[in-house]
Symmetry: C2
Subunit: 146 residues, 2 copies
DNA sequence: CTAGGACTTGGAGTGGACTCCAACGCAAAC
DNA sequence: GTTTGCGTTGGAGTCCACTCCAAGTCCTAG
């Protein structure tokens, strides 16, 4: 049901470990939204927003309604950050999230989506490279005028 | 007064030449906003908007009020496109435009601005490269599952 | 026990960069 | 000379991705 568990090295990693005072008993660590924000690099508001639009799933609540995020969430957030920062629109990330929810049968579709996205990223990089050169040319031109 | 005239090879270039029926007499070509849009890659609305906020200067009008853009405008628009597409905010482009308007004394400041921007572009490229690799890793992981 | 900080919700507001609209004038092709 | 279409203006609207707000609850350190 959940084959997103790629333990990719590049996940977001920070120092402190146990965020929430768990009464001893080494349970799997659960993070408050504040801690999750600090660790993921998203704001608390963005995390709530992502949950609302369906980009984050299965966020447990304490009996009083506070969110508790897990290691798995942090990993998933690392993926989202990567996709977002490479320019994928929210809507497409939602589609990807849906595929992940839909289980292993969607792996080929996920590959397809990521490949397409990677191509877009490649194009973006090539474009930036070219435009970087243009800027350098402009700088050189101005330097000739000084 | 105007040392933006860097005839950089990478300008936007199209096929057709004379857009507006000029009663013979090979005057410097002047382009309608539509033609300018086609040649620059900006929409007509964006061109008007850029003029309003001060990114484009000295746009002549026909006696009836229609804009006529010149070759020089197209070159400047090429520069704007490059800056915009590499993520420079409008406000900073406005500052750059102001420097160009302020004449040759501002050349060092322009260099400074462009250098700073180029650094931002370099960082963006490095970030995209890294995230591209992350995506590739994810793809490989999924391919292992197929 | 109480102060202060962290958390909750639904919904409204923001910022950047356009993009569209209405109502109109001018143009040039047949 | 009329239709088709390109152009004008000021101002309003849109889109995206958040970001902020109010009013309230909860948690924990002192």
């Amino acid at each position: 049901m959940d084959s997103n568990a790629n333990p990719q090295a590049g996940g977001v990693r920070f120092a402190a470990v146990s965020s929430i005072p768990m009464t001893a008993a080494p349970t799997a660590p659960a993070y408050t939204i504040g801690e999750c924000a600090r660790r993921s690099g998203f704001s608390m508001d963005t995390l709530r927003y992502y949950e609302r639009v369906g980009l984050i799933d299965d966020v447990d609540r304490t009996p009083t309604g506070q969110r508790r995020f897990t290691e798995a969430h942090l990993e998933w957030l690392g993926t989202l950050k990567c996709l977002r920062d490479t320019g994928m629109p929210i809507e497409q990330m939602c589609r990807f999230a849906q595929l992940v929810r839909d289980g292993d049968a969607t792996v080929p579709e996920r590959i397809e989506l990521l490949r397409t996205h990677r191509e877009a990223v490649d194009e973006r990089i090539a474009d930036l490279d070219a435009k970087r050169d243009y800027i350098s040319g402009k700088i050189d031109y101005y330097r000739g005028l000084e």
